[in-house]
Subunit: 345 residues, 4 copies
Amino acid sequence: MAEKMKALWKTSAKAGAELKDAPIPTLKPREVLVKIKASSICGTDVHIYEWDNWAKSRIKPPMIFGHEFAGEIVEIGSLVTKRKVGDHVSGETHIADYNCFQCRIGNAHICENLKILGVDTNGSYSEYIALPENNAIPNDNSLPHEVATAQEPLGNAVHTVFSQPVAGNKVSIFGCGPIGLCAIMLCKAAGATEIYAVDANDYRLNMAKKLGATLTINAKTEDPAKRINKETGRGVDVFLEMSGNPNALKSGFESLRSGGEAAILGVFPNNVDLDINNYIVFKSATVRGINGRKLFDTWYKVDSFQKSGAVDLRKIITHKFKLEGYEKAFELMKTGNCGKIVLIP
Amino acid sequence: MAEKMKALWKTSAKAGAELKDAPIPTLKPREVLVKIKASSICGTDVHIYEWDNWAKSRIKPPMIFGHEFAGEIVEIGSLVTKRKVGDHVSGETHIADYNCFQCRIGNAHICENLKILGVDTNGSYSEYIALPENNAIPNDNSLPHEVATAQEPLGNAVHTVFSQPVAGNKVSIFGCGPIGLCAIMLCKAAGATEIYAVDANDYRLNMAKKLGATLTINAKTEDPAKRINKETGRGVDVFLEMSGNPNALKSGFESLRSGGEAAILGVFPNNVDLDINNYIVFKSATVRGINGRKLFDTWYKVDSFQKSGAVDLRKIITHKFKLEGYEKAFELMKTGNCGKIVLIP
Amino acid sequence: MAEKMKALWKTSAKAGAELKDAPIPTLKPREVLVKIKASSICGTDVHIYEWDNWAKSRIKPPMIFGHEFAGEIVEIGSLVTKRKVGDHVSGETHIADYNCFQCRIGNAHICENLKILGVDTNGSYSEYIALPENNAIPNDNSLPHEVATAQEPLGNAVHTVFSQPVAGNKVSIFGCGPIGLCAIMLCKAAGATEIYAVDANDYRLNMAKKLGATLTINAKTEDPAKRINKETGRGVDVFLEMSGNPNALKSGFESLRSGGEAAILGVFPNNVDLDINNYIVFKSATVRGINGRKLFDTWYKVDSFQKSGAVDLRKIITHKFKLEGYEKAFELMKTGNCGKIVLIP
Amino acid sequence: MAEKMKALWKTSAKAGAELKDAPIPTLKPREVLVKIKASSICGTDVHIYEWDNWAKSRIKPPMIFGHEFAGEIVEIGSLVTKRKVGDHVSGETHIADYNCFQCRIGNAHICENLKILGVDTNGSYSEYIALPENNAIPNDNSLPHEVATAQEPLGNAVHTVFSQPVAGNKVSIFGCGPIGLCAIMLCKAAGATEIYAVDANDYRLNMAKKLGATLTINAKTEDPAKRINKETGRGVDVFLEMSGNPNALKSGFESLRSGGEAAILGVFPNNVDLDINNYIVFKSATVRGINGRKLFDTWYKVDSFQKSGAVDLRKIITHKFKLEGYEKAFELMKTGNCGKIVLIP
């Protein structure tokens, strides 16, 4: 095996990234080495690329970033028992210790010693990655790697959507990036009777419409809360915040019916000034913060929904670039005129 | 208004029924009088018609039976405030007192002083029926009465199916009568990834297949538990018992995975000899008894699923008879070669 | 019966109140007339008395205020069937229509046409009150009226506490007014293993300690979040916000463990600037807004906990005044150096 | 370290047991060796000792039995990272693979490749035991081993009791062996307002009374269902089956209120002939099969309830024998005139 590999580095504390060689990782006893066949771009990667406040506070260059990926196991550590060379796998991003209180009560996604791939450790914008065998989720060989890489964000959507009852209910989804688009497919598959999709980008709203949104609302040109309240009479039963936009959070609560349930996956640039009385207390709302994926219940659902045909990730993957074309890819991400973008190392 | 009406009576304690005049009911202050446009046949009605053990123990002739119906309000009692003359309505069968412990904690469907329409009181196989305004569920005028009558059993299916999580899960449904068929439509709409439908009648299994069952199993020719366990590897996540057949109950538990959930709507002719250890305890199963509909949450869901197009009751209504043709209708019911049968008074 | 009664009026849009005669209410057909034997002071009454911003926006003088009470039924309306003259009753404050969507799905406490006694209608600081029979909750004759009046806030505590699992868990309670004190008794009765009580008033913290708090923290002299995090290592499992203080809300979230659950009953003077990312999203917290009492499940629990001896409301009732002494009572309320204060008409 | 140890063997397929030497176990890389200081007797051990039908079908002599124990780690395997020599530990009996579907969705207690200590593998009636580090649950050094051994059955009780809401509810507990007695302590600690304890042995009923049962019923002399229904009016809210007696199961359902919840931990000698209609379906009951302990949420609760003082296992430990006195211990177990019996190797 070659000793060097191509990788996209965050080399220093400023905007941008740099493509340059890295040593192929060596394995710890319970790790596997995956030859990466596809690695897709997440909003988090854009924060790192652009070097915003969050990135400054969290990322320690130099490091390889990227965390959504799929590939094939080419080597296993000495104590690996669950995976083998040749397995096709996707990566679970949250590396838990399986020993702390949270892990032992079933909350490995909020492990007390959690490390996040491509954030706290070297990531997947490269030719190879080493990760614990537990984090290598097996895929059918029939699933193309370019599709399988998007199972990680699909998992976020599964975790968010199914934290509330959607069957027979009206749902609003604020934010139509790839996770929001997955949420639309899932809500449709799971019997939501109305799906209101909100974004400020027409490209994404068009995708939302095609994937099953019963109504799309461009927040630039129309007040989403007013429209949803007009359509529903009393607001939606379930509100999913997937944008990280403070106005979306407010608008979502304003169009949630009393007794309704909200799930927040979006991460906000700053504190949000919130009308706790009317949005939560008087409304008797239930609000859930969503983080990562349930390990590993979520991954079984990711698999089920694809096998049943209810979710087809191909529909949200709009662009593919060679890893070398990363600058164009990140420029495109920033416009929002795309679904999921996949990089091929 | 005419003082007499046509009605189907259980006149005496033996099999059969008798069509003869009855006085049009007079109203209590909070009751409405509904002109019945359609009244469908439930399995319970067959028990009454055939005068089986259950009927002998519960029914007190002479009485008018039948309880699934739809029609139009033609008169209201002096204290009625929620409904008005001209409203199209379906009938909720469970007459609760809204004053006992169960009603006051939200369980009106198991009211401590419950009366069931057409079982404890005169029923709907007639031209008119009087019922409490709370039990007259408003329908859109666009919904034909012949369809609306089947919303009551659809409600049973809604109550049963959504007592467990079905999205992304594998579900078995034992019993493909009209409620089982509704359950198939609901499971499909709500994202069940596999739906195993079991019955002993090919007519109904064919309907099950058309409505969305991913696999149908004729229990006469194949062991359902063996087949389901073979297909799934470990059994289904959710088992719905809708047949009242002891073998179905056993077979359903044998093909439920450990940690799975079962809902029992079926009513059994006798006690059932059950392997509690392996079916429930070691399996860590959750088992829910299902009775009627949640008042009135279920009815809102009944409405939602129809309006979204996820459920079309027309697909389960296979036959229509004039009330006078009741003998043919009940004969047909006994063969099982039908979906829902509607009687027109 | 005398035609006039003594009552405490909010006569005009300014601070204070006025004691003057009012006509004894006449009954609607489904109402009962209660001779009030005791009526206790709620924080809401202080807002009305002091005429703060909330009061200005909601209260329409002239009106009689007060809403916590107990007494005896002395007359019933013509259609009343559930209550009778002589019944001892407490008052449920939320007057629901039992006909809207929320009421019909079991959420009468957030009825779409809700009226609140003593806020939207004439209240209980008087000799008599008329209220719907549903809102007159029967008490054992052995329960003194002066105690029974405090069942309404106990109900708020029951609703708040039991929206999360407390058995075997560590709980923080911010705000040790009468509802917070009830919550302490309930948490102790229900097996919370640690109860951290936070307030800024030593009188109330002393009561908290006596009622079962395992640790009391004066937020004036110590940072509650730091202390709770130090004591627990990772924060509490359950956080109950019962103060309406923005700093308490923040502090409560800062000392909630990841994956923990929060219930907010407190009402805040303004919007709150909240770190949604760290308080809810990354923390995977579940947050529930709490409003009123579940009708009527909560009242059954209120009764159970008193009958079992787990809760003794006498322990939180610290002062009693004649209605005429209302000025002293409200002054005392404002100091916070009291538990529940009862007015006797 | 000595190469031989004392152990209680099931040497052949017949009643009884034999005390004889065994080799001290050698460790696999992720196992720890525990020097056993106390090992208590479970009902399962009595089945093995007496060689009943269940034992015949499951146990493969020769083997060392016993599975409740506490002791000190004296050696660790080469890959052990979570435990160290000198740790005081209790034993979790269910050895899961942490790799199957059930384990990966959070159900390690029903692992698809589960092995049970002392049933499928050599057990704890000996001087030393080897077990996976995950199964060695750390104890405070201040907790005596003779008490700590009973945490395993306390865990069964925690799992059973907290699968239903008990605060403010009436609970029946059928079976007052050690697990039933633990359940009484837990229900009392968690705010059950009435605890009806049923058994056929006065020794155990006396213990039940002392530990907090509000009423004890001897099923030999009184019909438990009749009595509970008389006391409650409508039956209990929660029914816990902890006896494995078919009559208890029936009686428990007969005294469960409509809409109530049942948990079954008992294991029955044969199938049970059950009135599914009236016990489950019409009653709208929820029934949960309980198996082992939730790994490891239950153990944290076991710890919390002891540290808070709510549960004191000393109160259920009635007898202590040297391992050599096993015959007397098993004879005593069969009489039922005991709580938990501890063997000291």
